[in-house]
């Protein structure tokens, strides 16, 4: 009987302990009970980069984890330029390749992404080729290849890689690249269609915002300012930190005559992301509106002095229009030796024109218009070169540009009008 007492007491005590534990679990701060036999670990962060960092800490010998960290860091570098993420990516990818030198597809793709981000397109092409050779039926390698080839100016190769990408993984990324490829070939209507398809297929707000601001860019190039502004607003509603959407919104506001709003939007943008392209557009708007642009120009000058490695085209454009045009020619000639992209041709042609070498500028400017997207800016540039050479039809070209896109550039639209108003005069 006594034993029964004891057993009853023990069982009762045990039940009490269990009840208390259950009560505590129910009342305590809401965390799910850990799987049996395992100590509760902190949940993986939602942030991709943080999750990748955690994974490499947990499994430092896992080559795939390091490759994923590299990819996540490259991805992050898009939104935080110069955030040290590219360095982190380079180190992580090197670690991954050291752990698994052969058949490391993820690291090959990541290295290609990194090279593209660093504007080292020839290296990116090599990584893309080795990745697609390693796994001809995996999509990621073709994306690296497509990005590299289009920048290197090998347009047939870029189209082939994009087509293969579309065949293997017809998603948002593939249609975005297809849109870019079509735009580069001047097929704007189809480019818009592909980009709309990409927007439909986009899975995350970030991707959706990217597609929306790309649609804005396409509308902008056609001079459809109201449509462009709608797309930019849509993108900003999806991701308020989409800097290219913020840039587009500022540029559209300026073109629509809302200068104060544009200056404010630009001001906020360059405060957070003083990238050459943004600084230059703000400086040119300020110059056109009669505001001082010294701060922007000083920052651009500093960026020119800090720049190493491949040329940034926006910085070259700054040099051509507001700095040392001869230096721009030198830098762009080197770049033209590395890659035969229409974008480089357009900038080189313009730099040559600004340096007074219009004869050499003409073939580059023509190539840019005929083989490229035929943007308003590129056609204006060709018109300005032809105008300087006194060629017939130059004024018609300039008038056509202003008709289709009266505010294609706060700064250069005025210059174009000057050229038409005072034929034969220089534009300085």
């Amino acid at each position: 009987m006594i034993r029964w007492h004891g057993i009853a007491a023990t069982v009762g005590g045990g039940l009490l302990v269990l009840a208390c534990a259950a009560g505590l679990l129910a009342l305590g701060p809401g965390t799910p009970a850990p799987p049996p036999g395992r100590v509760a670990a902190p949940p993986p962060p939602a942030d991709r980069l943080a999750a990748a960092r955690q994974a490499t800490e947990a499994r430092p010998q896992d080559a795939t984890a390091w490759a994923e960290l590299g990819l996540a860091a490259v991805d992050r570098a898009r939104t935080t330029p110069e955030g040290g993420q590219l360095t982190e990516a380079a180190r992580a990818l090197a670690d991954s390749l050291a752990l698994r030198p052969e058949h490391n597809y993820e690291a090959q793709v990541g290295s290609g992404m990194l090279a593209n981000a660093r504007h080292e397109f020839a290296a990116a092409r090599e990584f893309g080729r080795s990745a697609t050779t390693m796994a001809p039926d995996r999509a990621a390698g073709y994306a690296v290849l497509a990005d590299a080839e289009i920048q290197l100016g090998d347009y047939p190769a870029a189209t082939a890689a994009t087509q293969r990408l579309l065949d293997l993984a017809p998603g948002s990324a593939a249609f975005t690249r297809a849109s870019y490829d079509l735009e580069t070939h001047g097929r704007t209507g189809e480019a818009v269609f592909a980009q709309e398809r990409a927007l439909e297929l986009a899975g995350t707000p970030e991707e959706q915002a990217f597609c929306a601001h790309r649609l804005g860019d396409l509308a902008w190039e056609q001079g459809e300012l109201a449509t462009a502004e709608q797309h930019y607003r849509h993108a900003l509603a999806l991701r308020s930190d989409d800097r290219f959407a913020a840039f587009g919104a500022a540029r559209t506001a300026a073109a629509l005559g809302r200068t104060e709003e544009a200056l404010q939007r630009y001001g906020e943008l360059v405060e957070r992301a003083p990238q050459p392209q943004f600084l230059l557009e703000l400086a040119e708007l300020q110059l056109a509106a009669g505001h001082p642009a010294a701060a922007q120009l000083a920052a651009l000058d500093a960026e020119v002095r800090l720049a190493t490695g491949p040329v940034d085209l926006a910085l070259a454009r700054y040099l051509a229009d507001h700095g040392d045009a001869a230096q721009a020619v030198r830098l762009l000639t080197e770049e033209w030796g590395r890659r035969r992209s229409v974008l480089v041709a357009e900038e080189l042609g313009w730099a040559l024109h600004r340096a007074g070498r219009d004869g050499e500028a003409l073939p580059h400017a023509r190539f840019a218009v005929e083989s490229g997207s035929g943007s308003a800016l590129s056609r204006y540039r060709l018109g300005a070169v032809e105008h300087a050479l006194g060629l017939p039809g130059a004024d018609d070209l300039l008038r056509a540009v202003l008709r289709s896109h009266p505010h294609f550039s706060a700064y250069h639209a005025g210059k174009a009008r000057q050229l038409l108003g005072a034929p034969g005069e220089g534009e300085r």
Binding site: T31, A40, E82, G84, A173, Y180, A307
Partner: protein, 498 residues
């Protein structure tokens, strides 16, 4: 999921618009604007020592504003003027709310200096001292926002110290990890600190002995001199950010050790010895082993239950209070311990009175009965009808165990509450179980040692039985009084601190 499938969704076109890759002279990158706010809380004001370290490009952007005479250089006078301007702007952007009242910040000093950076460019360092008047001689809750733009690339850091003001809790550390932006820790470019807000609870004037305590569980722990180190180690393991399997196992091992140490304290040991010796003198030879095991098991169960009940009560009563949980726990914990202490005192006094009624006779019958129903602690105690058995039986031994395990040891409670506060309730329960098990192991070991085969040690102790037996009830009373005093002290401290 295929690890490369996700990046596929990243449109690489955006990458092409990236800024050029530069030789980063500034450790946080050429674009970065880095901000440090060092808060000092004094009885009549808060002083914010702001440092803004700008890398080459933002410095170039700012230089045109600083260079008033447009001669291309920023001389000392221009630097001083620009520093004054920027500090005034910062003073307007800093937000601090003390108990719902917005504070007004005034710049009292400013300075701007340039240092050589990359490519012949300069980096700049702006220093401002901002002051806001506020009465911190009473407890105040302060919400601080530095106004720094989180989307702007760069290091953002806040620290807070009290000078003549006790800080009970602060969401930011006391020390700067970057030495006020002078030397950034390794890897800071990849994972820069992004702290732009701080929550601080100031406790009024700092007493000499109370230098501001860091955030954490309320000071329930009544330190055990020898075990204090282990306690601290365990507490730090419990509150560690990353709970890994090795850390978890280490924590459980420490809990076991701590429990064993706790069992060695006065009170438990005596109970165990008494119980086991009673067992050896009982009718059944070999009952000592059984008794020891019974006591150990009961102590574990009771102690764990006790700690969990108190923890449950505290969590239940504070679950509604939300973020004031930690500040209230001290008060509630103290009150509960005091209530338990009071009940123990009552029981002990009744037992003593009962002894007196019995004329001190039959001592081996009523020891161990004084808290037979102790597992209902906090509830009804129907004492006064002590069982009268012919010898030391299992129920009485269980009573001893219940008594031994009843009082939740503060250190175990702290471990549990700390784990609960961190959202690791189940881990906390596991630790408490380990703690109880450690206690049980120690007690059982002691009991077995003493009862095992009539050794010299047992004989030695047998001679002391009468004294021990007489002392047990007084010991209980003393323990009860100590518990009551500790509870009152904790409650008082919690009330003042809260």
């Amino acid at each position: 999921m295929n690890p490369t499938a996700r990046w596929l969704a990243v449109p690489a076109v955006a990458l092409l618009a990236l800024a050029p890759v530069s030789a980063a002279a500034h450790p946080l990158g050429n674009f970065s604007v880095n901000r440090y706010d060092g808060l000092r809380l004094l009885p009549d004001r808060i002083v914010d020592t702001v440092v803004v370290d700008t890398a080459e490009i933002p410095t170039a952007q700012d230089r045109t504003a600083a260079d008033r005479n447009r001669d291309g250089t920023v001389d000392a006078e221009e630097a001083a003027l620009r520093a004054g301007q920027r500090c005034a702007e910062l003073a307007g952007a800093v937000r601090a709310v003390a108990d719902g009242r917005e504070l007004a910040w005034q710049p009292v000093s400013s300075g701007l200096s340039h240092r050589p950076g990359a490519a012949g460019l300069a980096t700049a360092r702006l220093g401002c001292e901002l002051v806001a008047a506020v009465d911190l001689t009473r407890p105040v809750r302060i919400s601080f926002h530095s106004g720094a733009d989180r989307e702007r690339l760069g290091w953002k850091e806040i620290t807070a110290v009290g000078e003549g003001v006790a800080l009970r809790a602060a969401s930011v550390p006391r020390e700067s990890s970057s030495d006020a932006l002078d030397s950034y820790p390794a890897g800071s470019a990849e994972q820069p600190l992004g702290v732009v807000t701080a929550e601080i609870s100031a406790d009024g004037p700092a007493a000499a002995s109370r230098s501001g305590e860091r955030r954490g569980v309320p000071p329930l722990a009544v330190g055990l001199p020898a075990l204090g180190g282990i306690e601290q180690r365990l507490a730090s393991l419990t509150t560690a950010r990353d709970l890994t399997v090795p850390v978890g196992l280490a924590a459980i091992a420490l809990a076991l050790l701590l429990g064993a140490g706790h069992a060695a304290l006065p009170g438990h040991a005596k109970l165990a010895v008494a119980a086991c010796l009673t067992g050896t003198t009982g009718p059944r030879r070999g009952g000592g082993v059984r008794a020891a095991l019974a006591v150990g098991a009961t102590v574990t169960v009771t102690h764990t239950a006790g700690v969990l009940v108190v923890g449950l009560a505290l969590t239940a009563s504070t679950a509604l209070v939300g973020d004031r949980l930690l500040s209230r726990l001290g008060l509630l914990g103290g009150a509960l311990v005091a209530v338990i202490g009071a009940l123990l005192v009552r029981t002990a006094v009744r037992t003593l009175r009962g002894r007196a009624d019995h004329g001190g006779g039959a001592p081996d019958h009523d020891h161990g009965h004084h808290e037979h129903h102790g597992h209902d602690h906090g509830g009804h105690h129907d004492h006064g009808h002590g069982h009268r058995h012919g010898g030391p039986h299992l129920p009485s031994l269980l009573g001893v165990g219940l008594a031994g395990g009843l009082v939740p040891s503060p250190s175990a409670l702290v471990i549990l509450l700390g784990a609960v506060a961190l959202g690791r309730t189940s881990f906390g329960v596991l630790l408490v179980l380990g703690y109880g098990l450690g206690m049980a192991l120690a007690l059982t070991a002691a009991g077995l040692l003493l009862s095992g085969g009539g050794t010299r040690l047992a004989g030695l102790t047998t001679r002391r039985i009468p004294a021990l037996r007489r002392l047990v009830p007084y010991g209980s009373l003393l323990t009860a009084l100590v518990v009551l005093a500790v509870g009152l002290g904790l409650a008082l401290r919690g009330a003042v601190g809260g």
